[in-house]
Symmetry: C2
Subunit: 115 residues, 2 copies
DNA sequence: TTATATACATAAGAATTTTAGGTATTATTT
DNA sequence: AAATAATACCTAAAATTCTTATGTATATAA
């Protein structure tokens, strides 16, 4: 796990959104899914991921179940009720931010453009 | 000046891009332009802006001229040669990151979608 | 005359991430 | 058989970037 740049601030949203789509996932699985979805361009570092998961759990947005698979411990995360509400909120926050970014960075384009 | 959050790291790109479009700008002007372009939704704080400008100047991407306007000091920033190259690089980096973000967060959509 | 706008700046603290380590099992390669 | 990579968790120091709070100073508006 290493190098990307950027991502700062969007990691929580990524975690929550992936869990909205997948019911439950474990940490390592999240890193692999992101790598796969972005053709290896975004690599979630473990030093960023695990503290983020622990924080979301401490905030009551995620719950955990530990399972034994092939003598290896897996810690599965799922959205709580509060977590489910938070996904929507965090997603529209991020979407709004990206739209504003585009307004700043591509001043020629009008609303409703293509990337 | 207050609250935004999200995508820490895009401030440098914003500064460089605005200077690519405007030849020269001073700090306060940048905060106002961003506020105006985003209908007040993104407010660049001075505590973030000035250190960022100083850092870009220290890296040789920006140059400065100080001017007196109505008894008030203004510090105008312009892109250096290196700065001009860096805009392109930073812009495609950010654009690529946003595309990857969309791949993670909107798995239904195919490349070339609308925001 | 008091507050707001313009215009710069810094410094403490918070939040997030990178880098670098650590443990342990299983699978693959040499 | 031994070494490496992959799977799977974790933490801690340092770096980076941002917020919040302050400070200075002039001009304008209430």
């Amino acid at each position: 796990m290493s190098n990307n740049n950027l991502i700062k601030g969007s990691l929580q949203t990524i975690i929550l959104k992936l869990l909205e789509e997948n019911e439950r996932m474990y940490g390592y699985e999240i890193t692999q899914r992101v790598k796969e979805l972005t053709a290896g361009e975004i690599k979630i570092t473990e030093g960023a991921l695990y503290p983020a998961l622990h924080k979301l759990e401490a905030e009551g947005l995620l719950s955990t179940e530990i399972e034994q698979v092939d003598n290896r411990v897996r810690k599965y995360y799922s959205l709580t009720k509060d977590g489910q509400k938070e996904v929507t909120s965090k997603m529209s926050e991020l979407q709004g931010f990206v739209e504003n970014l585009q307004r700043i960075l591509t001043p020629d384009l009008k609303p409703g453009f293509n990337i």
